[in-house]
Symmetry: D2
Subunit: 412 residues, 4 copies
């Protein structure tokens, strides 16, 4: 566990290594947080849920960090106002790194001593939690950079063009009838992935890959953002209120589409999956295409047993790219993991028999089961070893700043 701990913590810091202090400090919108806040909050998590409970004599690094870096755990205590996180210029980024060093030392010492099972579980949860914030750091930085007319990028080598054309889309029949879904395995999974339970799948077929930019640009060119009847009412209202005419981060320059990425501005890559669309746009696109979004269980049934392979944060691309061509004669869905989180048609609700765990960590997932939609599969900003077929991500249907894309489905 020490090795895993050291590796995950270092990976977080690696994401922002070399960045100017300004980039870590600023909050670009209420939904986002400063990178510095993520670095501190994930550290606070270990202090609050591991070091404190494990050692009654543990003294927190700073008496006020409990409030400043508590995200939303009402059971732990009050929280500094979320939309004002960017006003905290102190602690500085450098001081937050000292905080990390301090907690890491205490954690590694604790792990070296070994500990009871609950402690090991908590550490594992803390590491998975930190991996979630790794992706948030990338999402939030991209959003921040996109506000700046200078269009800075995180890394020049990010977001290279796709190496070849996308394969034609094929329809891949999925299983139907009663089927077990959800996670009951021995490995780590979040509480919201269980209990494992039966569900009833209808005959259907999944698209062999995600929708590409070229395909989405057709929808745009066909008046997709001007035809209200393609849209859910809430989506149409949102699109009008905010003047949507294309995915977030697309912009026209001299007659062609460009896209803001973590590599900076890039000509739109026609073969890469469309990314940074809301559920509303995904749903409207599917309607326009004569298809629909998959349910989360249709997706899970396709993914179960498939290897967690694809374009993750580990590749360093930090941007979706063309799917591997499916070699098989009998088509199976490719690109299930990585590249883009895939919006499903499923509301984020508890599985039958779900109960959040007791205590403050019961607030981790359960209380958000309202007004959100499930996404599956992971993205180019997710760590590979953080994902699995039963993983449930969730965002409000209006969210566009995550690395979100579209897989079509059809009734069979």
């Amino acid at each position: 566990m020490e090795a895993a701990y050291a590796r995950v913590r270092a990976a977080t810091e690696g994401l922002v290594a070399g960045l100017p202090a300004e980039d870590l400090a600023v909050q670009s919108m209420p939904d986002a947080s400063p990178a510095k806040w993520h670095l501190a909050h994930t550290t606070w998590f270990f202090e609050t849920f591991v070091l404190g409970p494990a050692d009654p004599g543990y003294r927190p690094f700073h008496p006020q960090f409990e409030v400043l870096f508590n995200s939303y755990y009402e059971s732990v205590g009050p929280q500094f106002s979320r939309p004002r996180r960017g006003l905290l210029t102190r602690p500085t980024g450098a001081e937050v790194l000292q905080y990390r060093t301090h907690v890491d030392a205490a954690m590694l010492e604790l792990l070296a001593r070994g500990g009871p099972a609950w402690l090991v579980e908590r550490v594992r949860l803390g590491l998975e939690h930190e991996q979630q914030h790794q992706e948030l750091i990338l999402m939030d930085l991209l959003h921040l950079y996109a506000q700046n007319p200078l269009r800075p990028g995180l890394r020049a080598e990010a977001a290279p063009p796709s190496s070849r054309p996308a394969a034609p889309l094929r329809w891949c029949p999925g299983p139907s009838g009663l089927r077990e879904v959800g996670n009951a395995g021995a490995g780590f999974h979040f509480d919201n992935e269980g209990p494992r339970h039966q569900t009833l799948l209808r005959p259907h077929a999944l698209a062999s890959r995600c929708v590409t930019n070229a395909e989405y640009a057709e929808f745009v060119a066909d008046g997709g953002y001007r035809r209200s009847t393609l849209w859910l009412a809430d989506g149409w209202a949102q699109a009008q209120a905010e003047g949507w005419t294309a995915p977030l981060y697309w912009y026209m320059s001299q007659g062609t589409w460009w896209q803001m990425t973590l590599g900076g501005p890039r000509p739109l890559d026609p073969h890469a999956p469309v990314v940074h669309v809301s559920h509303y746009e995904a749903d409207a696109f599917a309607r326009w295409a004569g298809a629909r979004l998959p349910t989360e269980f249709e997706w899970e049934a396709a993914a179960e047993g498939a290897p967690v392979a694809g374009n993750f944060v580990d590749s360093g691309r930090l941007h979706p790219t063309v799917a591997d061509a499916p070699p098989q004669a009998e088509p199976r869905p490719a690109q299930l993991f990585g590249d883009v989180w895939e919006w499903t048609a499923s509301a984020y609700l508890p599985y039958p028999g779900y109960h959040p765990p007791a205590g403050a960590l019961g607030e981790y997932n359960g209380k958000f089961m309202s007004n959100q939609m499930v996404l599956r599969g992971g993205s180019c900003a997710s760590p590979r070893d953080h994902l699995r077929a039963s993983y449930r991500n969730f965002f409000p249907p209006r969210a566009r700043w995550p690395f979100t894309g579209i897989r079509l489905t059809k009734d069979a």
Copy 2:
């Protein structure tokens, strides 16, 4: 059909008979509409979807009413701004009644001539639509009256106290396993009630009746509105932002709870079902009570085959009242229909294979399948003959001004 037409149209006007013109004209919040607007919009519906299509020579009563009284049909054309409906002092209430008279005459003449099946179906849809607006008129009037410190009522005889104590709550086991749900019958039903399809029910038991005011007052007294861990995060945020401390329309006067009703102010009736709670409050109450809300299909399975009996608008009470005591030895859920709409744990989503009908009427239900929760059963403000076991009502989880209540459920 002429008789049905005349009856439903007269019922709408009966709701507001004798009211001062002011009560019909004012809009108390963006979610509500002036009663006068409801009277005109339901008339516009017949003009637009029946008279126009049936007779190419039909001349609308007024050339601008198409815009003023179009609610949300983008396919029909532009709509007057919804939150500004209350600014339309003209047409006056009297002129709207003339509009109704004019359209009624044309409709009755048309119905007398008979017509093709599609026309009869459209008329039926128009009448069901009008019944929905009957309930909206009552909801909106109550909200309007509640803003006025003079606390006017609609009718003095409304909201009498319950005639006897509520029976103790019992748990009624429901069916489990694969089961057909949804409406495939020959009778009228909305598009969102189908297709009929199989679903998988888990072992569970429904409460024998709805939660009473006395039970809900215990939750309030036990700090229900101050304990964040009982709440969904969105609900807690809403409750804090709006300062919720009790259901909408409850207020304390000299140490006891009172409630604003369509009969005016009333001491809180301990035996009547709690009403005017949001989904968030229903969910928090259920958590506090160690139970949960039913899924829409658990509810439908219990209601299928049961008579549509209970306290509807037809009783004139216009307020929920104590449930009939279940006479049976083997308990079955009572009070399923009428009194209060029952929040379910189900998000309002399309059934498998659902497609909205072609044309403007496809906008009736389908485009609202986002960010809403399903309610079942009907209320004291619903017409009895408008309801059935497969009926799906829907509101955003924050809505409190409908006649909404709570039925508990437990895993078996």
Copy 3:
């Protein structure tokens, strides 16, 4: 005084005689009030400041009207929320008229008995107050009608076209040097018109008449609303935020300007004074025209001694019209009174030595001396006998719904 009382009170009711109840009930924006509220508030004024103090046994007509119809007198007690006045459908318009009848009877009885000087003064203040609300009723009704695509008018005979062309604009030199301003006369005046005091006037010349629609249309056509350098910064920001492209109530129809008036829609009258412009627009126009707005004392010096003659509410036109041609060889400013309130360059501030009167009536004027500009002269919606040379009207510089216009001035 009984005659004056009866006359003024009747005039108020005459303004709204024959209107549907809806027109009296609705509030079209937070700055406006329902006509019904004005009818009740002016009555409350007599109840609160005359009947109550004069007779300790006086019982108010309704115990809750003290709160409902208190506008802003903190010393009297709490006030019903101003932007929510339109939600009070009760008391109805008819009930408000009963309230008026009741108070009028008590007032006339009191006046018949005679009374001390303070009481007579209070009654006079109440009548002047009521005349101010007469103008507000007309302003607020026009604003209400203008929200309605049906464009109803108050009276068909209102706003006839001007009878002849406007005379060419001439410059009329005004007095300079030390001069007395403010009201110290024996006649009625508001506290904010005094103390009379010396002021220093610079050499200047006033325009012989107000700016006409034709002149203002040139400014519009010359890009007046697109050239930021003509505007005060706050005005430019307001104009951009609200999309101003012409005075309030102007609209283009088939290539020509129309104007919404109390007579309904009218083709823009080129000879009539421009009306419904903010201070920002008046100031920008003046800058464009190479002139400036007058100070309030330059205006007062020109008006002192001039007869209060012009186009007032008494004419029934309810809209500005062309100025009388100045017959004199030596030009003197015409159209000083009536037609439009003239924006001045003076902030609304207390005169040297000003102190508001003691008691609640001290809140009448003094507390508003902040963020407002002075207007002079009265409008087509003001009663003639309500005006005088020393009268100070005031509105925030963004206000456009009063009958406001422009008189140019130049340094000599």
Copy 4:
């Protein structure tokens, strides 16, 4: 001029020397700007108004800085959104310093070559402009620090306690009658300080010093923030909406008042002038004290001829302190310059005959002559050599984050 240039530019950088990059990057509210933005904007000013016009071949340091660092000069071109300045993490603080170095080199070379009179005047204007931004940097940093529960300070040695008690307040009669005001001198002054002109002063007496914290605390203790009749209506509304109970930056801790300062948290210094009050609070305090605020000309008459001496940014205190005791038998107002800007009763309006200069620099002052009040005298955050008796500062009456205080005046 080279020496002055170098000195003023260095002083700006000295203010933020040693600060972490985060402190320079963040914007704490729309009215404030990041310190980094001030550093860049003042540099842009020289590039735009000096280097460009002086040398047609001058190449701007960065092609997009013209937009990013244009504050409000519409004549120059578009401006990056003011409330979003804090989102520009690039250029970083270090890059902004490079920008400064680059422009400084070009400026010094230009100044060494000498230049026409207009150029020298522009440079002087640029330096006075930069001194204004020096004060803004301090105001904005204090506001930023005050948002942080860690309560960081700028410099530990700032805001020491007063060295002795404040002298008793005495009343100092001022001149009356006709008097010249405004600046017509040969020295530098802003356009808004002229033309010099006659004004009429009434008999009055100024307080010998500013209102102290102890005196203001009495007002607070006497219910000053709960008694609406002491307040202007707009001020009362603002105070209620924002929950004002004391000056900005005061807070109660264990029963005593503390104050947030640029030295960090400090116990309230009873002898120091109250600071960070709005015009509304100053006006309410004066009313409570039976006095009033001075007009800007009463203040100017007292200050004309007096030495510009007092507590300025040059002292390094960065906080107001007790006034020097007036040694004289015949009292004269002390503390006129420095410590706190003194709210006057005068609206910020153009002097008679004022015309803004031609060109973009005409936007410097004139377009803000609306909805603001004049302040006089300078503060503990102003450079001494930036001030003079005719200097007119201005802020909206709600502003509290400048170093604003109160001097009382009485009619004689």
